[in-house]
């Protein structure tokens, strides 16, 4: 293999085109499949420009304007009232930033706070970063943090999970760059919670909807037209790693297909949230590539085990187990997501559970066992392929968030039918309709797609299943689970929270079968080959655009 080596080096250095490489390889007596195999072995694609061609050292264009197409503009949709935000997706923490960042591996990273410590029993002391400038040139000090979390939070303008544990004087200035949080309700998860964009710091006396928006993040707002566009410029006085692009010009194109076509027509450089079914098309088009974040959302079926008749069948563990075992997660992600998702295993991304993720075993796809479990419970297969017992049909009503596609519903319905369960789809056209279904309690199975947006490893199990939380009555498993939830809430080390969270999930998924994870959903970004997003974040609201680069051509 001496001769191909200089050939390969020539290709990989960019001195030789793909066509020239194949021509010279053929001249050397190397067959076309072997040449393609060589390229593949070197990490280059033999397909038509399906990768960003990272084989050459490329130079970031510091003056680049990256034209981005996003879906919904959440700023005006969220209203201009108490919860107005400029951080709403896709701005996230790029304009206003929190004391602590949630990195894409779900670890906490210093943001406006350089460090933080617990002063027992429950005081959190934050040591602020010095030299931070807001976009109006003023310096960030403890007064801004006290305003944000001390005074402003009483107007209902900060993150509820944190502010509900704070009193009027809970946030105290120690000195210009030190602040104490003294919750009235002990909150050991506070640093993990304030990573959320709603916990971002605003200058003293301002709010998220102040005009012009003044934050301290890597980008500052230049212009904004609701539902149409927002333009951000790199903030040159930013304390951290500055964005490589000079400007991001974001257009809001709510239709998925239009966004993809805008990319293909060359009118935008980068598209957020392309549908899984478009991935192959974009990848197979020369000059474009797709970057996928790790799964941050999880499609979970919650089984209502406390419903009233006729929605009382979820009370039977045999029914819950059969539902869980009936679903082939691999086939589901292949069918409903074109393979651009992970088979469901956990309630939250595996990364946030650290080494304890393996405590939660995957539920096997075992329709035979599901059938046996139902047989043993007295559910006999009827002539129409649906089971009955004592004249009652094994029929379950399935509701789901508006984002759940008809294909997902139909696949799950079909899987359950295989074991004799009739799933009745109650698709909701929009969120209020779903809320109506949910509130009425007229369902057995509830398909939700929660996103892990904070750094608390126990966030979702506690939020949805801890009996002391409002709104969990339908699902709360009971005392044993609550004890684990308390352990997670009171833990003083990340490892202890991760372990408790994993134990809670194991109980919910593999013992009680109350939660049926079906898919881990990835965020998918399509872009031209000169653009790359090097650090895609699994969490929707924590994506920083500083790692978005446009290379010189």
């Amino acid at each position: 293999m001496n001769e191909p080596e200089p050939l390969l080096r020539g290709y990989l250095s960019g001195a030789m085109s793909r066509r020239a490489f194949f021509a010279k390889a053929l001249a050397l007596g190397i067959s076309a499949p072997s040449a393609a195999a060589l390229l593949a072995a070197c990490g280059t694609s033999s397909g038509p420009a399906s990768a960003p061609a990272p084989t050459r050292a490329r130079t970031a264009d510091l003056q680049a304007i990256i034209r981005m197409a996003a879906g919904e503009d959440q700023w005006p949709v969220q209203g201009t009232g108490a919860k107005s935000t400029t951080f709403a997706y896709p701005l996230n923490v790029n304009v206003y930033e929190p004391l602590i960042y949630l990195a894409s591996d779900f670890r906490l990273q210093p943001g406006l706070a350089l460090s933080w410590e617990l002063i027992p029993p429950s005081t959190w002391r934050f040591h602020l970063r010095q030299g931070v400038k807001f976009h109006d040139g003023s310096a960030m000090t403890a007064d801004d943090v006290v305003w944000t979390w001390g005074k402003r939070q009483h107007l209902g303008k900060t993150l509820g999970t944190v502010s509900s544990t704070l009193g009027p004087n809970s946030v105290r200035k120690v000195d210009d760059f030190t602040v104490d949080f003294v919750p009235v309700i002990p909150n050991l998860r506070l640093p993990e919670q304030i990573v959320h964009p709603e916990g971002a710091i605003v200058p003293n006396g301002k709010n998220f909807d102040s005009s012009p928006p003044v934050g301290s993040g890597p980008f500052q707002v230049v212009s904004y037209t609701p539902n149409q566009s927002v333009t951000l410029n790199r903030f040159e006085q930013y304390w951290g790693t500055k964005p490589s692009a000079h400007q991001m010009a974001i257009r809001f194109l709510s239709d998925d297909q239009t966004r993809v076509q805008a990319l293909q027509s060359g009118q935008v450089d980068f598209v957020l949230d392309i549908p899984p079914q478009s991935v192959a098309t974009v990848k197979n088009t020369r000059g474009f590539h797709v970057v996928s974040a790790k799964a941050g959302e999880n499609q979970l079926i919650y089984i209502d085990k406390k419903g009233n008749k006729p929605h009382d069948l979820g009370a039977e563990i045999a029914v819950r187990q059969a539902v869980s075992m009936s679903i082939d997660r691999n086939a589901y992600v292949s069918t409903a997501f074109d393979g651009n998702a992970d088979p469901g295993r956990l309630m939250a991304p595996a990364a946030i559970l650290g080494p304890y993720a393996n405590l939660v075993a995957p539920v096997p796809h075992d329709p035979q066992k599901a059938g046996q479990v139902l047989d043993a419970a007295g559910w006999k297969m009827g002539a129409n392929g649906i089971r009955t017992r004592g004249g009652r049909t094994l029929s379950l009503d399935l509701i789901g968030w508006a984002a759940v596609t008809p294909l997902s519903f139909q696949f799950l319905q079909s899987e359950m039918k295989q074991v004799g369960i009739q799933a009745n789809i109650m698709a909701a056209a929009d969120t209020p309709t779903y809320n109506n279904y949910y509130k009425s309690g007229a369902f057995d199975l509830d398909l939700e797609i929660p996103n892990q947006n904070d750094g608390n490893p126990a966030f979702l199990p506690v939020l949805r299943m801890y009996s002391k939380n409002p709104g969990t009555a339908d699902f709360a498993p009971g005392t044993a689970f609550d004890q684990l939830a308390v352990t997670a809430l009171d833990a003083t080390t990340v490892g202890a929270v991760q372990q408790a969270s994993a134990q809670m999930q194991q109980m919910l998924i593999n013992q009680d079968y109350i939660v049926v994870p079906v898919a881990g959903v990835r965020r998918l970004y399509a872009m031209i080959s000169q653009v790359n997003l090097s650090d895609p974040h699994p969490s929707q609201t924590n994506q920083l655009w500083t790692s978005l680069v446009k290379y010189t051509t």
């Binding site: 209203g79 509820g160 257009r251 239709d255 929009d430 309709t433 809320n435």
Partner: protein, 312 residues
């Protein structure tokens, strides 16, 4: 004529009142609680309690009796106040004003395209009845009329934006107006041109047309002076209805082309259960339809002397 117009204008008021009453009844029957939606938007925890929803219901005035809500809407409307948007928290009139110009631009261009193309195409097809031109126009209009609007929109984007790079994919600009306007106009052109053809053929068989031909007028003169005015009546009805739809805003086309018009506002209002905005938009669309119908009826009288004579 004047009395007739006045009578018709007066009928608009009770019709609109009935329309708004109907939409309010439908809102009450529809799934989804706007108070809960409002409470969720303002919740800092993502969860809402029954007390939060009750507070929101009171704040939005939804805890008042249905009749009181209706009367309150009517009283406001009389003074030009269509209420406050639940989600955008601005006056509905302000929001409609913000979005109306974009829709009006689109409607105007689509309407001009429709009139400029549908009438000549229909006339050509009728005059050249049974020829290749007629067959092509008939089949073409049938195909276009059968295409779903969203499919045609994507097709136009694929051809003119993605492949030929001639026009923008989406967004509000002068060039960006072309594709959504063509998408909106295409169906109307196809329908109206077929109707024009059929109507013209029918008129061309009338005695007075034969008489005009016998007097030595050319086909072109006969069509222009004698046949077209009579044959235009049913087409004008289609134009009137079409303009009503265009002014009400097209949800699908405006969404695909990211056109910030009334269609987008309506879609947002429906998915957020923003009742005042829905009611305001329905009232606006209703007014547009009623006024256009009146305009069409008055145009009938101008174009066809028989209608005026029949009234006497």
């Amino acid at each position: 004529m004047g009395r007739y117009a006045l009578r018709r204008v007066l009928v608009i008021v009770p019709t609109l009142l009935m329309l708004v009453l109907a939409i309010m009844i439908l809102e009450a029957l529809a799934p989804g609680d706007p108070a809960e939606q409002f409470a969720r938007l303002h919740s800092t925890t993502g969860q809402v309690t029954n007390a939060d929803v009750a507070r929101a219901r009171h704040e939005l005035g939804l805890d008042r009796p249905f009749v009181a809500q209706y009367v309150s809407w009517v009283e406001g409307a009389v003074h030009g106040d269509l209420g406050q948007s639940f989600t955008l928290e601005k006056p509905v009139v302000f929001e409609i004003d913000n979005h109306f110009v974009a829709t009006a631009e689109l409607a105007a261009v689509a309407m001009i395209l429709t009139v400029l193309l549908a009438v000549p195409l229909g006339v050509v097809a009728a005059v050249r009845r049974g020829t290749l031109v007629d067959h092509v126009l008939r089949v073409g209009s049938l195909v276009v009329a059968s295409l779903p609007g969203f499919f045609l929109a994507y097709l136009l984007i694929e051809i003119f934006a993605t492949r030929l790079h001639l026009l923008p994919v989406a967004g509000r600009s002068t060039a960006g107006l072309v594709l959504p306007a063509v998408s909106l106009a295409a169906g109307g052109i196809a329908t109206a041109s077929r109707l024009m053809r059929a109507s013209l053929l029918e008129v061309m068989g009338e005695d007075y047309i034969r008489t005009a031909r016998a007097k030595g007028l050319t086909v072109s003169q006969v069509v222009r002076r004698h046949a077209l005015p009579g044959a235009s009546l049913p087409v004008i009805t289609v134009f009137g209805t079409l303009l009503g739809y265009l002014l009400a805003g097209s949800v699908i086309v405006e969404t695909i082309f990211a056109w910030p018009g009334l269609g987008q506002l309506f879609e947002q209002a429906v998915t957020q259960r923003d009742y005042p905005t829905i009611e305001g938009l329905v009232a606006l669309a209703g007014t547009a339809f009623l006024l256009l119908n009146l305009g069409v009826d008055l145009a009938y009288r101008l174009l066809d002397p028989r209608i005026r004579l029949a009234e006497r």
